[in-house]
């Protein structure tokens, strides 16, 4: 429709770019271009934000408003769904099918924190070894650690389920923390390795000349300098644990369900409580949305385990 597609804009050097965008659209070509940008932006924003908005609205409706056809947009907002999730379990209007949702939330916190703590503690020396030493098997070991990120979870979870039943780890926090290592450990090792490798070698050499041992280099040079990296790793690792659904679905029971498995329980009743389910999804997603604000810059790096910076 227009002879100058949107995608050309990024080719132009910045200086010229600014001038074209700030100048008011006088020609027809400019007009089309601006209209196209606007439409694309609206589509992108609606596509991204609408589900969140609608779920938030749904979570604020009472049980009649939720299912009314056509959907209501003007209604008296109520916190009943959230109240039902967190407080009363059997007081008429506050009744919920999942009185244990607060427990699920606590479970998520316990399991995610435990899993990340264990992974990071084990990964710091391992990442140090992979980043700063040469030894036979180095590459293959690093690769083996990474490969676990890509194994279908069922190959682990079926034998783990049988094993856990036998040794009494089924439906325990410890068991889940150990199982979550499959999610966090490959990630923390590779992330920390990539951050440790960024510590300039000159500083390390200077420390060595001053008589630092390998332990001193780790504790006095590498760790302090990569503190931001460690923080990012911890936060992203926590988020991945919070996301986890497959492992707890099979290895957790009623007392240890995290929020992801807890939220899905709203469906299995004859009457689906959309309002409460909406509230549950909002509550489950909130910690992550807040955490993600802190690590925005590093998310791609985290998801590709350090492959893309």
């Amino acid at each position: 429709m227009t002879s100058l597609p949107l995608s050309q804009r990024h080719y132009a050097p910045r200086r010229r770019e600014r001038s074209t965008t700030t100048v008011l659209p006088l020609s027809r070509r400019h007009y089309f271009r601006h209209a196209a940008v606007l439409v694309a932006a609206i589509i992108l924003i609606v596509w991204t934000a609408f589900p969140f908005t609608w779920i938030l609205i749904t979570s604020l409706k009472n049980s009649a408003d939720v299912i009314s056809v056509p959907p209501t947009f003007i209604f008296k907002p109520t916190m009943d769904n959230y109240a039902a999730l967190f407080f009363a379990s059997h007081q008429g209007e506050y009744s919920t099918s999942r009185p244990d949702f607060p427990l699920f939330f606590v479970n998520s916190v316990i399991i995610s924190t435990g899993a990340v703590a264990l992974s990071v503690l084990a990964s710091i020396p391992a990442a140090y070894a992979l980043a700063r030493f040469t030894f036979p098997l180095k590459n293959s070991l690093g690769f083996i650690f990474m490969s676990f990120r890509f194994v279908p979870f069922l190959a682990f979870v079926i034998p783990l389920y049988l094993l856990y039943q036998r040794v009494g780890l089924y439906n325990t926090h410890i068991g889940l923390i150990l199982a979550y290592q499959l999610i966090t450990l490959p990630f923390t090792i590779w992330m920390l390795r990539s951050f440790f490798m960024e510590v300039p070698l000159e500083i390390q050499e200077a420390a060595q000349i001053d008589g630092c041992s390998w332990l001193g280099i780790l504790t006095r040079v590498i760790l302090p300098l990569s503190m931001p990296g460690i923080a990012v790793t911890v936060i992203l690792g926590f988020m991945f644990c919070w996301n986890a659904f497959n492992y707890p679905l099979m290895l957790a029971g009623r007392q240890t369900f995290p929020v992801t498995v807890g939220a899905i329980q709203f469906i299995s009743y004859d009457q689906v409580l959309w309002g409460q389910m909406a509230a549950a999804t909002i509550v489950s997603a909130l910690p992550q949305l807040l955490l993600s604000l802190m690590v925005q810059k590093y998310i791609v790096r985290g998801l590709t385990m350090g492959a893309v910076r």
Partner: protein, 301 residues
């Protein structure tokens, strides 16, 4: 070379790296052991309801899989879904990345906002869409579509609808990931080729075709690699929305393996399916990563 200084120190010891790796290796053993156990189970007829009847049956589970009609359907769905979803997601991701790379007002805000779907658990995203796809008033999707003249879609109730629904939800959650990788790639591209092309009078389409896409190829392949591996294994979105139905239309290998192991308690068959899936993931990642290496090298040259 970077460790020469370290190695010169005599008390360093050759075993120090292994010592440092010990805690991680212990955890690694904790992962390898169940996996090996699973491999072993896949060669037995382990059926949880009949624990006494535990025989070693070699490859019978694997051979048996190929005789089940559902398995070939699940295999077909797994491969077909992966190909279609990765193609669509990478295509759309490229479009979004190019759009957000252009100098448009408010792109910083849009980039930050675009991340949101990536930040929530996939299963929660699936539940959000499930609410929107509902037939009651909570299901806003059909209502919204009615304004642009689309007849009510039976989202999760019909075989085709369910497949499309899963694709939509999966795309919603993962598009930001692809866009971010490609955006990172676009930002790292050199400026010179574009200047040279402009001097030669190349149009925007030509520059996209002959400069941007070839230079971006390693990033496209990397994004596709991650998505292929995840799409082959996709479980949580399908489980939360359709559980493989209706009429097994959205049953992929993960769902089928789950059904065998946790509904019929045929552990051997369940693991065998997971291993078949693993073989597919390994094979495709091997091919794609080689491709990535080759393109990455040729681009650098």
């Amino acid at each position: 070379m970077q460790t020469k200084a370290l190695r010169r120190r005599p008390r360093q010891g050759r075993f120090l790296p292994y010592l440092l790796l010990t805690p991680a290796l212990v955890l690694l053993v904790g992962m390898v052991y169940p996996f090996a156990l699973g491999l072993y189970y896949s060669l037995t007829d382990y059926w949880l309801q009949f624990p006494r009847r535990f025989r070693f049956i070699w490859l019978d589970n694997y051979i048996g899989l190929f005789n089940r009609p559902l398995f070939s359907r699940a295999l077909e769905f797994t491969i077909g879904y992966t190909l279609v979803s990765v193609a669509i997601q990478v295509g759309l991701g490229l479009a979004v990345a190019l759009f957000l790379h252009a100098h448009i007002p408010g792109r910083k805000v849009m980039r930050a906002m675009m991340l949101m779907p990536l930040m929530i658990p996939p299963v929660i995203a699936a539940l959000m869409w499930k609410i929107m796809m509902d037939a009651t008033g909570a299901g806003i999707l059909n209502y919204a579509l009615s304004f642009i003249g689309v007849a009510p879609v039976n989202w999760l109730g019909s075989p085709h609808g369910a497949t499309i629904s899963v694709l939509v939800i999966d795309t919603w959650g993962n598009l930001p990931f692809i866009s971010l990788i490609l955006l990172g790639g676009l930002q790292s591209l050199p400026n010179e080729p574009y200047e040279a092309a402009r001097v030669d009078g190349a149009g925007a389409a030509a520059m996209l075709r002959y400069i941007t896409l070839p230079l971006l190829l390693p990033f496209l392949i990397l994004a596709a690699t991650f998505r292929v591996m995840d799409s082959l294994r996709i479980f949580d979105v399908i489980y939360a929305t359709t559980s493989g139905g209706p009429d097994d239309a959205t049953t992929n290998l993960s769902i089928m393996s789950y059904e065998y192991a946790f509904h019929w308690y045929q552990m051997g068959t369940g693991v065998a399916e997971a291993i078949v899936l693993l073989a597919m993931v390994v094979a495709s990642s091997f091919v794609l990563l080689r491709l990535w290496h080759r393109t990455a090298e040729s681009v650098v040259q």
